[in-house]
Amino acid sequence: MKVQETAPNPLAQGLYDYRIADPAVMVIFGATGDLSGRKLLPALYNLAKQRSLPAGFAVIGAAMSAMTDESFRQTASQKIHQFSRTQPIDDRVLDALLSQLFYVPVDFSKLDDFRSLGRKLQELDATNHIPGNRIFYCATPPQTYQTIALQLQGANLNAGDGYHRIVVEKPFGTDLQSARELTQTLQKSFSEDSVYRIDHYLGKETVQNILAFRFANSIFEPLWTSNLIDSVQITVAEELGIENRGAYYDHAGAMRDIIQNHGLQLVALTAMEPPLAFEANAVRDEKVKVLRSIRPLIGEDIEQSTVRGQFTKGWVLGEQVDGYREEPNVAPDSQTETFAALRLFIDNWRWAGVPFYIRAGKRLPKRVTEIRVQFKRPPHLTFGREAMKEVDPNAITLRIQPEEGISLKFGAKVPSAGLRIRSVTMDFEYITSFLVEAPEAYERLLLDCMIGDPTLFTRADEVEAAWSLVDPIENSWRSGRPPLELYPAGTWGPDAAAKLLQADGREWHRP
C-alpha cells in the first residue's frame, strides 16, 4: 500500500506536543546489547508512559542469542527498571509494553533467520492492525549495518505495504570512502529518505534550541554577521576518560568521535542561514551549505590551524586518574588524540573572516558543551580606557550542557559616584524557565522516526561533507603533522591549544 497524502486529522488539532505515530513494528537488531538496554527500551517505555505509542505498536528484539519472548521481556523489564529516566516504573504501562515485545533469534549471516523475522512481522501485521510499517533499528556495531541491510533486502523485508525505515547509529563510516560505501549499500535496500542516521546529540532540546534562539527571535539574527562578530568558540569537554571503550576509541580519537559529528553539527547550526521552514530537507540543505563552505584545511594549514593532544596522568574532580596509554585496550605507544582543536573559516558572505575555534577532549576539567559567540569591541571607548578596563567584549553563550541555557554578556555601570563599567550577564536557564521537563534525546528521535520526520537525523550529504573536511586532517595527523602534544588530565588541553588562539590575539573562554 502506498502512503497517501491525507488531510490532517481534525481530532488531533489542539493536542499540543502530542504527535501521533501510525502503528508499526520496530525491529531492534542487537536487542540484547548495551544501547538497547540503556537507551532504546527505556525510551520506548517513556513514550508508552506519555501515551505516544499507538495501539498495535510492537517491538521485535533480534540478536544472536537464543532467547524466548518471555526471557526477552524479563531482560527488557530489568533494563527499564534500571535505566528509565522516570521512576518509579508504572507496572501497568510496563506490562502493556512488554506484552508487545517479541524476540526472534537472528544470525545476521543467515538469510533464513531474516525470513523467520519476516513471518513474525506478517503475523503482527494481522493481529495488531499494522499496515506493514517497519522500523529496523541497527543497535549493532557499524560493521554489521551493510550485512543487515542486504539481508533485509534478500528476505524482501525492505519493500511491501507501509513504510520501511532503517536506523543506523554514528559513526557513519570511518572516513569519506567508507561513509560513501555505507551510504551506497544502504541505498541499495532503502531510499535515502528511509535511512535515519541517528546522532543522539541532535535530539537534545538545547541543540534544537539553537535554531529556536536564532530563528524565532528577530533581535539576534541581525547581530549574526561578520560585521559584529569577532569569533566563535565551540567547546565539547568531558571530564571522563574513555570508560572501557579503549578498543573503539584508540581507532577513533577525538576527531572522529566528536569533531566529525557533534562538533561540525554545532558549527552548522550556529552558522546556517534561516531555513524556509523547520522541515527536514530545508534544515538539512542549509546545514550542508555551511559544511561545504568551510574552507578545507590542507598542507601547512593543518599544522597551523589544528592541535592534537593526549592526556597523561593527572587530577580530575579531585581524584587522580591514569593517563590515556594506561587505559585498558589502548596501545602503550598509542598516538591517538584525546583532544582536538581546530580553527576553521566559513567562506561565505555572512561569516567571511570570522574564525570558528572548536575544541573537544577527554579528561578536561569538567563536562561542558557550549557555543560562545564573541562580539567585536565598541569602535570608540566613550567612557575612556580606565572605566572600561574590566569590560569583556559582548558575548552570547549558548550552553548545551550541563547548565542548559543562554547568557548575554554586556557592560553595565558599577553603582558608585564615579563611572566604572564592568561586565554582567543576563541569563536564561532552561531548567527553571518552563513548566515541563525535557524528554530524553532518544525519546524524541524514536518518535520522530515513527512519525517520519528526519529533520534531526543526518543526511548522507551532510556526513560526506563532514568527512571531506576531516579526512585530510586525519591523514596529516597520522603522519605526525602536527605532532601529538601531551596534557595532564584535568587541564584544558595542551599548551598548543592556547597558542592557537594567542596567535590571533584571542584566548579560550573558560566555560
Partner: protein, 398 residues
C-alpha cells in the same frame, strides 16, 4: 509528586497596605539575591515562570490553593498569590503573609519562589486589579485560578481579569453545575481579547481525546471519520449537571468533524440521546449514567465509537480503569510495586479480526499536574473554545 514541605513565613502583618507588602517583598528579594551571589560576582537576576493568583472563597479552598501552588513552586520558579475574601471589618484593609521557598538546582542558579497570601476585607475584593497589579512580576504570564464556583460575569472577577492573561476554573467543582457551566461559556464574550479561559475538566479529557484521535490517525483509517454512526458516552452521577464532561467531549468531536446538532431526547433508563447531522448522515450520541466505583460525579467511565467505512465495520472502545487483566502471565521478580496509576483500556475492532487491546496510563489527574499541563501551553485554546460552544448548545437541549 512528593508531599510538600511548607516553607516558614518570612513576613506577616495585619491590617497593612499593599505598599507595605511590596516593601517587605523587595527586602526579601534583595537579601536572597545577595546571598546567592558568589564572592565578587553580581547577584543573579530573579527567575520566574509565571504569577499564579488563586482566589479562594473558603478556608478549604485556601488550603488547596496554598498546597497546590507550593507544590508547583517546588519544581518551577514562580510567584503565587492566594486571595481569601473576608467579611468586612471597619477600618481593616488586608492581612498579608509572605513565605519563600529557595531552590538551588545543581545545574542552574538558585531561585526563590514567592508565596503571598492576602486576606482581603470588605469592598476591596471587588477591586482586585489595583490590589494585585503592583505585586505582579513583569514580563511573565499571570493566571487567575478561581477555586469553587467563580462569580462569572460579576464585577469582582471581571475586574481581576484586567491584570490577567488567563482564567482557570474547574467545572467539576461548580455548585449548580448546569447553570454555572452556561455562565462560564458566556465569559468568553465578556472579557478582553487577550484573556484565555481554561477548565481543568478539559485537561482531564486530554487522554480521552488523544486515544480517539490516535485511532483515526493512520491514513488508512482516516476515512473512518466520515463513517461514524454511533457514539456512546458513559459517565458517573445522575442529572444534567453531571453531563458537562460528556458534553465537552461530544462538543469537541462535533465541532472538529462539522456535525450539526438536531435534537436531544431522553430515552429509557436515564439514557439521553443526541442526534447530529453529519452531511447527509446521522450520528447518534448516547449518554448513559453508569455508577462506577472510584469515579467522581460527572467523570467519564467509557466512550464507544462505531461506524462503517467502505464496507468495513469498526468499533473503538475506551474504558476508564478496567478491572485488571494482565496482558502477560510472566512473572517479574524484580517488581516491588503494585499498580500506582489509573489507566485507559482501548479496544479496537476492525472488520472481522480479533479485538486489539491497548493500555495507556492516565496519570496526573490531580490539580498540580493538571495546572502544570494546562499552564505550560497557556490558556488560549481555540479547540476548547469551540468545543465549549458546542457543548453549551448540547447542554441547553438537556
Amino acid at each position: 509528586m512528593s508531599a510538600v514541605q511548607y516553607p516558614t513565613t518570612l513576613w506577616h502583618a495585619e491590617n497593612v497596605s499593599i505598599a507595605e507588602v511590596l516593601a517587605a517583598l523587595d527586602e526579601i528579594r534583595r537579601r536572597f539575591a545577595h546571598q546567592e551571589a558568589d564572592e565578587g560576582e553580581h547577584p543573579h537576576p530573579r527567575n520566574c515562570v509565571m504569577t499564579l493568583i488563586s482566589v479562594a472563597p473558603t478556608e478549604a479552598h485556601e488550603q488547596t490553593a496554598k498546597r497546590t501552588t507550593q507544590m508547583i513552586g517546588t519544581e518551577h520558579p514562580s510567584q503565587a498569590i492566594v486571595i481569601r475574601e473576608q467579611q468586612p471589618v471597619e477600618g481593616r484593609l488586608l492581612d498579608a503573609w509572605i513565605t519563600t521557598d529557595p531552590d538551588r538546582p545543581k545545574a542552574a542558579c538558585g531561585y526563590e519562589c514567592e508565596f503571598i497570601s492576602l486576606h482581603v476585607y470588605g469592598e476591596a475584593v471587588e477591586h482586585l486589579a489595583p490590589l494585585l497589579d503592583p505585586l505582579l512580576v513583569s514580563g511573565v504570564p499571570t493566571y487567575l485560578w478561581w477555586l469553587g464556583t467563580p462569580p462569572f460575569g460579576k464585577p469582582e472577577i471581571l475586574d481581576a481579569l484586567h491584570v490577567c492573561d488567563g482564567l482557570v476554573v474547574d467545572s467539576a467543582q461548580f455548585r449548580d453545575p448546569y447553570h454555572s457551566f452556561h455562565r462560564m461559556s458566556d465569559m468568553l464574550k465578556l472579557t478582553h481579547h487577550r484573556m484565555g479561559l481554561a477548565d481543568l475538566q478539559w485537561s482531564r479529557l486530554r487522554p480521552w481525546r488523544e486515544m480517539i484521535a490516535q485511532f483515526f490517525s493512520p491514513s488508512d483509517r482516516r476515512p473512518f471519520l466520515a463513517g461514524i454512526s454511533e457514539v456512546g458516552v458513559d459517565y458517573a452521577g445522575e442529572g444534567r449537571g453531571n453531563r458537562i464532561v460528556a458534553s465537552l467531549l461530544t462538543g469537541w468531536m462535533a465541532s472538529a468533524l462539522g456535525w450539526k446538532l438536531r435534537r436531544a431526547t431522553a430515552g429509557t433508563g436515564g439514557v439521553v440521546v443526541a442526534v447530529y447531522a453529519a452531511g447527509n448522515r446521522s450520528v447518534e450520541v448516547e449518554f448513559r449514567s453508569v455508577p462506577k466505583e472510584g469515579l467522581v460525579q460527572g467523570e467519564l467511565s467509557a466512550v464507544r465509537i462505531a461506524g462503517v467505512s467502505h464496507g468495513t465495520t469498526y468499533r473503538l472502545g475506551i474504558h476508564h480503569n478496567p478491572d485488571r487483566a494482565r496482558a502477560s502471565d510472566i512473572d517479574f521478580p524484580e517488581r516491588r510495586r503494585q499498580d500506582t496509576g489509573r489507566v485507559l483500556l482501548t479496544m479496537i475492532e476492525i472488520g472481522e479480526g480479533d479485538p486489539l487491546r491497548h493500555i495507556q496510563q492516565l496519570e496526573g489527574q490531580d490539580e498540580v499536574s493538571l495546572l502544570l499541563d494546562l499552564l505550560s501551553t497557556g490558556t488560549h485554546d481555540e479547540v476548547f473554545n469551540r468545543s465549549l460552544a458546542a457543548a453549551e448548545e448540547l447542554m441547553e437541549k438537556f
